[in-house]
Structures are given as structure tokens and as C-alpha cells.
């Protein structure tokens, strides 16, 4: 800001810059290290020669992973889940946030509905009763078990309803005088005006569905129904060799467990890494608008 040219401040500035660069490296170096391992030969990886650059560069691990039917199937389940889940989540977020953004004098039941939804943030039935409900509804081993239990994201609803409330009332009144109903006001007025907030919420929803793993693990009895992250959980974290076929095991001796794990980790992170830079500037704005209030 002002008057920063004392020697002490200059020294601080230099140290600060180094520190901040260091912190950001700390956040990406582990990912780059994994990337380097995934492209290295198994012997180099095993011998510990790899740091941030591939040693004896090879595509072998990726060829192996991509040729695996389990990996592809899990990827398909995830893509389906993201498409279906994001569509349902966003539709519900919008049509729930709109009525709740009305004032109580316009919509008398508002407070009742608000508490009905907010109470679910405060109190949960817990893991086991939720599992039993999903099971009794016959959703086990279907994609709906991954999509429906979390269909109403109450936090996103609150974020969006707070955003809706910042929109000027006059617009809505003018439209109402021209004969617009709630549907028109919502879809032709509110939604187009809320694109930054909607972009933020959509990004979080996409990432949320892409990254979910626990529901896949418990609601899917058969590994071929696992979404990608649940599949990875069993292969990379639990080291479950039972899921590998015998030909896989033979191949593994030639390409090493470590490089294939790295390749799978990187492939699963890739979509997030690709979308993220483009949406990054949106979400910073969106979060600020939604969370910091006057």
C-alpha cells in the first residue's frame, strides 16, 4: 500500500515471496512427482531414481491401465453419475432456492420449509440407518444409490438463495406487472442473472460427484458397478489383489505396481486438473458473494 520502502520491509518482502512460492510448490510437487513416476520405467521407479522428471520415459503404465476393462467400466459409471447427479442436484438447488428466497409475507410457508431443510444439516440419522433406507428402497447396485440420497444439497441451496436475495426486487415486480408467473421470473430473470453463483455451485457439484467414493463402496455389492474413485480406493489404497485377474498379475511383474498406481491416480485427477483453471476465477467471486454478508 503506502510507505513500504523501509529496508526492513524490503527484506520481509523477499522472504515472503520465497515463502509463498515455496508453499505453492508444496501443493503441486507431490502431484508432479506422481506424474513423473507414472511415466517412468518400473526399474527406475523401484530403484528410487525418480523425483520430478520421468526416468526412462515410457507409456507402458498408461497402456496397461487404459486396456483394463475394470478401469474403463468404472470411468463410465463415474461419467454417468456426474451427468445424472449434476443435472438432478442443480435442478433441485434452483427450484428449492427460489421459493425459499421469497420473503415470508409473499410466501407464508417459507419459514416452515426453511427449517424442514436446515434441520437436515443439524441432525443426521447416521451411516447405518441411511444404509438400511437405501437398501430397503431397493437401490443397492443401481446408479440411483449414488445420485438420490444426496439429491438435495442444502448448503448449495442456502448459497444460491442468499444470492437470489441480492437481486433487485424492482426487476421482479416489473416482470410480475407484465404478467410473468413464478416460472418465467425464475428461468428468464433469476437464473440468467445468477450465472456466476450457478457456475460456482455447478463446479462444486461436478467435483463432488467425481470425487465421491464411499457411497460407491458401500452401496455397490459388485465391483463392476463401482465408480472410478471407489475402484481406485480398492486398488490403490486397500491394495486389493483379488480384483486383479491372473493375466493382470503376470503383466504387473513387467511394469510394477507402483507406476500403474501412479498412472491411475493421475488419470483420476486429470479431469479436475483440466476444468479447474478455467472455473477458478468464478468460484472465488461466487464464494465471496455467497458467504460474506453485510
Amino acid at each position: 500500500m503506502l510507505q513500504n520502502n523501509t529496508t526492513g520491509y524490503r527484506i520481509f518482502s523477499v522472504i515472503n515471496q520465497v515463502l509463498m512460492i515455496g508453499l505453492s510448490l508444496l501443493c503441486v510437487l507431490p502431484v508432479l512427482h506422481t506424474l513423473a513416476i507414472s511415466f517412468s520405467s518400473s526399474s527406475a521407479a523401484a530403484a528410487g531414481y525418480v523425483t520430478l522428471w520421468p526416468v526412462e520415459f515410457t507409456w507402458k503404465s498408461y497402456e496397461f491401465v487404459i486396456a483394463k476393462p475394470e478401469f474403463l467400466r468404472a470411468m463410465c459409471v463415474t461419467v454417468l453419475r456426474v451427468l445424472l447427479g449434476v443435472a438432478i442436484n442443480m435442478l433441485l438447488t434452483i427450484i428449492i432456492a427460489y421459493p425459499l428466497s421469497k420473503e415470508a409475507r409473499v410466501f407464508r410457508w417459507r419459514t416452515v420449509y426453511v427449517w424442514f431443510f436446515v434441520f437436515t444439516i443439524l441432525f443426521h440419522g447416521g451411516l447405518i440407518p441411511t444404509y438400511i433406507v437405501v437398501k430397503n428402497l431397493g437401490l443397492i447396485d443401481t446408479i440411483w444409490a449414488l445420485v438420490l440420497p444426496g439429491a438435495v444439497p442444502v448448503f448449495n441451496v442456502i448459497l444460491l438463495l442468499n444470492f437470489f436475495r441480492t437481486l433487485p426486487k424492482e426487476l421482479e415486480e416489473a416482470a410480475a406487472i407484465d404478467g410473468a408467473g413464478h416460472g418465467t421470473i425464475l428461468w428468464r430473470l433469476y437464473v440468467p442473472l445468477s450465472l456466476p453463483a450457478l457456475a460456482t455451485v455447478t463446479l462444486f457439484t461436478i467435483v463432488g460427484h467425481w470425487n465421491s467414493w464411499f457411497d460407491g463402496l458401500i452401496y455397490m455389492n459388485r465391483p463392476e458397478h463401482y465408480p472410478l474413485q471407489s475402484y481406485l480406493q480398492t486398488v490403490v489404497i486397500q491394495n486389493d489383489l483379488a480384483l486383479l485377474s491372473s493375466t493382470d498379475l503376470e503383466l504387473l511383474q513387467t511394469i510394477s505396481d507402483r507406476t500403474t498406481k501412479a498412472a491411475q491416480i493421475f488419470l483420476a485427477a486429470l479431469p479436475v486438473l483440466l476444468v479447474y483453471p478455467f472455473l477458478q476465477r468464478y468460484f472465488v467471486k461466487g464464494i465471496v458473494v455467497g458467504s460474506v454478508k453485510e
Partner: protein
């Protein structure tokens, strides 16, 4: 009056699908809490199983590891809450001092990144780099003559690995709100301070810190509601039987007793205990946030 009713009807219809889904998947499981007081047999269901009163709770109390698990949960959660305030505030203050805007934006982009990756991916990376046999952290420590440490298999280290790796994932993202608060501080305050001869440090102490204090208080009180959430996703993907002693938390215990051992009633009892205590802490934290920072969620 009729006209008003007609105007409200579409609003009810819009809420209907959400209400049905929430009734099924949020309020439905709340009814299922009865299981905690039953000798639950899956084939008989909630209506067919016999009531057992407080038996499940007594059984849990008598399990040798229960209090250890409760302690782990609170211990890890509290350390995470403290680190989750101190580190992001410090980082936001330091980031705010970066004058080159390209550098600042670059740093921000990179430190938000880990937040968007799942604990499966980060867990996979951590397991690899922390491995005592081939992990790069071990090799790095080796340069200083330090013997490889089995970070994920050592009860002394494990809770700290949890806290540090969680902070690694979240500190950047958590700093966003503080950065937003910093940009909201009136610049004329700094000008006035400079006229009065305040240096950079004094400006920070007397203007910047008080300026973001409300949001610090707000987020600290709200985090109180998380006191029994030590982070299931993270612990589940990093722990192993070797570190159950220091790393087992209520959520992982519920998973093992309920879904692995199929003792539904017992697991539901632990889950209910957690839900009830958490409910009180969340309500208290929202109430405090309202009193201290005038915060309302909607």
C-alpha cells in the same frame, strides 16, 4: 385471497420433489435410529426386531477401545480446528503483502488445487511419498542422515500426519474468505495510519487484524460444530490396523462395527451418540455465531 393462494401454489409445487427426497433420505434414516435401541436383525427389519433398551449403549461402553476412540476423535478434530484457523489467516495476511499481482494470482491458483482432489487421490500420493522403503520423503530425510520413518504406521506420528496433510489439502481454500475480508477493509484507514507514522507491522496489528477479526471469530465458532468430525474420508484412506490405537475415530469405528461386522444395532448406537452430541455443538456454535458476529445462515 384466492389470487394470493394461486400465486403461492407454484412455489409449493417447486418444493415438492425436494421435500419428498429429503423425507426419504434424511428424515427416513432419523426414524431408523430406533435400531440403536433394538437387537436389529436385517431379515426381520425395523418393525420385526425386538427392543433391547440401552443394551447396545452398555455394550459399547464396555468395549475396551471406546474411550480411546472418543479421545482420538476429539484430539484430532481439535488440532485440525486450531490449525485450520491459524494457518489460513497467516497465509492470507502474507499473500496480501505480495505486491506483484501475477505472483499473487499464481500462488492462489496453486494453493487452492489440493482442495479439489479426493482423499483417494491424495491418499494414494501420500502413501507413496511417505513409504519408508521407497518414498521420496524418506529419501529426502536420508540426505540429512535421518533414518526412514514409517509415518503412516507409527502411532506416535499418525495423528500429526493427519493434521498436517489435512492442512496441506485445505489451507489455501480456507484462506479465500480471509482474503475477501481483507479486500473489504477501508483503504483510507491505512492512509490515516501512515500519516500518523505507523509502519507496516503497526498497520497490520492495528488495522488489518482487527479488520478481519469478526470473520475469524465467526469461522472459529462455526467450526465448534465439527468437534466430533475428525475426517472420515482422510482417516479411512490412510489408516491401517497398526495405527488404530492413535487413529481410529468414531466414524471409522461405526463403519467397521456396522458394515464390516454387521452389528447394525451397536453401530447405530454409536452413530446416534455422535449425532446427538454434534447436534448440540452445532446449535451452540450457530447461536454463538449469531451473538458474536451477527451471523445468520439465510
Amino acid at each position: 385471497m384466492r389470487a394470493r393462494k394461486n400465486r403461492e401454489l407454484p412455489l409449493h409445487l417447486m418444493l415438492l420433489p425436494g421435500v419428498v427426497l429429503v423425507l426419504l433420505f434424511s428424515y427416513g434414516p432419523m426414524l431408523g435410529i430406533v435400531m440403536a435401541f433394538q437387537e436389529f436383525v436385517p431379515t426381520k427389519g425395523i418393525f420385526g426386531s425386538s427392543l433391547s433398551g440401552w443394551d447396545n449403549f452398555l455394550y459399547v461402553m464396555e468395549l475396551p477401545g471406546t474411550f480411546r476412540v472418543l479421545f482420538n476423535t476429539v484430539y484430532i478434530a481439535v488440532m485440525k480446528i486450531i490449525a485450520g484457523i491459524v494457518v489460513p489467516v497467516t497465509v492470507a495476511l502474507l499473500l496480501n503483502e505480495l505486491r506483484r499481482s501475477w505472483l499473487r494470482r499464481g500462488v492462489q491458483t496453486l494453493i487452492y488445487l489440493p482442495h479439489f482432489m479426493s482423499w483417494i487421490i491424495l491418499g494414494g500420493i501420500l502413501i507413496d511419498i511417505l513409504s519408508p522403503s521407497h518414498g521420496i520423503v524418506g529419501r529426502f530425510l536420508g540426505l540429512f542422515g535421518i533414518e526412514p520413518i514409517f509415518f503412516l504406521g507409527d502411532n506416535g506420528w499418525f495423528p500429526y500426519v493427519l493434521v498436517i496433510s489435512n492442512e496441506w489439502k485445505e489451507f489455501g481454500f480456507s484462506s479465500i474468505v480471509y482474503l475477501a475480508a481483507l479486500t473489504g477493509i477501508n483503504p483510507s484507514l491505512y492512509e490515516a495510519a501512515v500519516v500518523d507514522g505507523a509502519g507496516r507491522w503497526k498497520q497490520t496489528r492495528h488495522i488489518t487484524l482487527p479488520g478481519i477479526l469478526p470473520i475469524i471469530i465467526l469461522l472459529s465458532t462455526l467450526s465448534l460444530g465439527q468437534i466430533l468430525n475428525a475426517g472420515f474420508d482422510q482417516v479411512f484412506n490412510l489408516y491401517s490396523p497398526q495405527v488404530y490405537e492413535s487413529g481410529d475415530i468414531l466414524d471409522t469405528l461405526v463403519y467397521r462395527i456396522g458394515l464390516v461386522d454387521a452389528q447394525y444395532g451397536v453401530a447405530a448406537a454409536i452413530g446416534l451418540f455422535k449425532s446427538v452430541i454434534s447436534f448440540f455443538f452445532i446449535v451452540i456454535s450457530y447461536w454463538m455465531a449469531y451473538r458474536l458476529a451477527n451471523y445468520r445462515i439465510f
